[in-house]
């Protein structure tokens, strides 16, 4: 009996013909799997995988960003430093120029003051010389007349002074001296 049942089944069945109830059940099963996996489970795991990737790559990226920032800051500081140096050099140069101008001015001023002082000195000397000459002439006159009165034995002083002998003599002496000077020149 069994082989007949088997034969009957074999005659009835074509393995390449799909049975529609099975197709429908198979599709339903697939859509249940697809629905639950696609709507809920895979998005949630994808999110976590993304977070994990972020946690790893994000750390590296953050480090890179920080490094780039530090680099930029360093560049900025360098640029500022260079600028400051340049500025300092400029200021120094300016100061040097100003200093040179000032020194020149001072030197000229000093020169002028020296000349003034020298001129004033000369004038003073001239004045002193004149005064000294006058005093000397007077002294020489009185000394001479005293000397003469000693020699002569009487006072000539008043007489000589009145007569202007001494002055005349001295003037003569002076003019001789100037003549001799003019001749020697």
């Amino acid at each position: 009996m069994a082989p007949e049942v088997l034969l009957a089944a074999e005659e009835k069945m074509n393995p390449l013909l799909p049975a529609w109830p099975e197709v429908i059940i198979g599709l339903l099963c697939f859509f249940i799997v697809f629905g639950i996996l696609g709507k809920k489970l895979l998005p949630s795991i994808e999110k976590v995988l993304g977070e994990r990737r972020d946690a790893i790559e994000g750390g590296m990226k953050r480090a890179e960003t920080a490094q780039a920032e530090a680099q930029a800051l360093l560049e900025q500081y360098r640029a500022e430093l260079a600028e400051a140096r340049h500025e300092a050099a400029r200021i120094t140069e300016h100061a040097r120029e100003q200093g040179a101008v000032l020194i020149n001015e001072m030197r000229e001023e000093g020169q002028r003051q020296r000349e003034a002082i020298v001129a004033a000195g000369h004038a003073q000397i001239e004045a002193d010389k004149k005064q000294a000459t006058a005093v000397l002439r007077q002294d020489v006159g009185s000394l001479a007349s005293q000397l003469a009165s000693r020699i002569v034995g009487e006072s000539l002083e008043d007489h000589a002074r009145q007569s202007g002998v001494i002055d005349r003599f001295l003037d003569e002496l002076e003019s001789k001296a100037t003549a001799a000077q003019g001749a020697s020149k």
């Binding site: 069994a2 089944a9 393995p15 099975e22 977070e51």
Partner: protein
């Protein structure tokens, strides 16, 4: 269940006992209905497919329902499986644009794989994909996606051109090639996609059954015991081999589905 009934009826039949080899045949793939609703029989493959769906959903639910940044063991296994399909199949074949189709193809891969694995699970011991209705259903989904994407991306004329008009071919070859491409892409592809999965599982199951039945049949207090043990070893070896084929067929199924989608998304040339 046909297989069980048959085996039970032949249980006393052994070599040298005067009965012929009860060769298993198509009956192995026919099942008595578990129950019937309005003339529609509910059979073992249907039950198995529902169990498979629940297994896939159950596994991924347990693994991914509360995902953590530092994964537990189950989540790690799930992630490896998910990442394998996503990276090694979908993104490898389609590229960055394939991101959208990852959930569908991941679902398909694990559903097909577990339905294949049923072949060697004790008590189930039947690859659901060896009932052609199941691969046909899945291939239909792939075909609808393939056609839908082709015409959505390129319009009707562009889509037909994408399907039938290979680029870089001299004009006169087109006369032969265009009908072939048309026939190949629209009719042959979904058909072979379904039949390939079906036939592999069908043949694999039949082989295991043949050697299992043979090892029982050959078992007798004679030289037959030696034959029987050889047959048994072959059956065990085939079971291990089937484990590989089951994975491979699921891989190929999803790989081809990805390559069809990639073809549909290809820029017009």
């Amino acid at each position: 269940m046909g297989a069980d009934v048959q085996l039970a009826s032949e249980a006393s039949c052994h070599l040298f006992s005067g009965c012929g080899f009860p060769a298993p045949g198509l009956g192995e793939f026919e099942f008595k209905p578990i129950f019937s609703v309005g003339g529609v029989d509910f059979t073992k493959p249907m039950l198995l497919s529902i169990i498979c769906a629940l297994l896939v959903v159950g596994f991924f639910w347990a693994a991914f329902a509360k995902p953590k940044l530092l994964p537990g063991k189950l989540q790690l296994v799930g992630e490896i499986g998910y990442d394998f399909v996503k990276r090694s199949i979908v993104l490898e074949t389609i590229g960055k644009k394939g991101e959208k189709y990852v959930p569908m193809l991941v679902s398909m891969f694990f559903f097909v794989w577990i339905m294949n694995i049923m072949s060697i699970i004790p008590f189930a011991q039947f690859p659901v994909m060896s009932r052609i209705a199941f691969p046909v259903g899945l291939a239909a989904i792939v075909w609808v996606t393939y056609m839908g994407l082709t015409f959505k991306k390129h319009g009707f004329v562009g889509g037909m051109k994408n399907l039938c008009w290979p680029s870089g071919i001299p004009g006169w070859v087109m006369v032969i090639l265009v009908p072939i491409e048309f026939f190949s892409n629209i009719f042959v592809r979904p058909f072979t996609l379904a039949v390939r999965a079906f036939a592999n599982m069908f043949a694999g199951h039949l082989l295991i059954v043949v050697f299992s039945v043979a090892s029982w049949y050959l078992l007798s207090p004679s030289i037959g015991a030696l034959y029987g043990s050889v047959s048994f070893v072959v059956a065990v070896g085939l079971t291990a081999f089937e484990l590989l084929v089951q994975f491979l067929q699921a891989y190929i199924f999803v790989m081809l589905a990805s390559s069809y989608i990639a073809g549909a998304l290809e820029e017009a040339h």
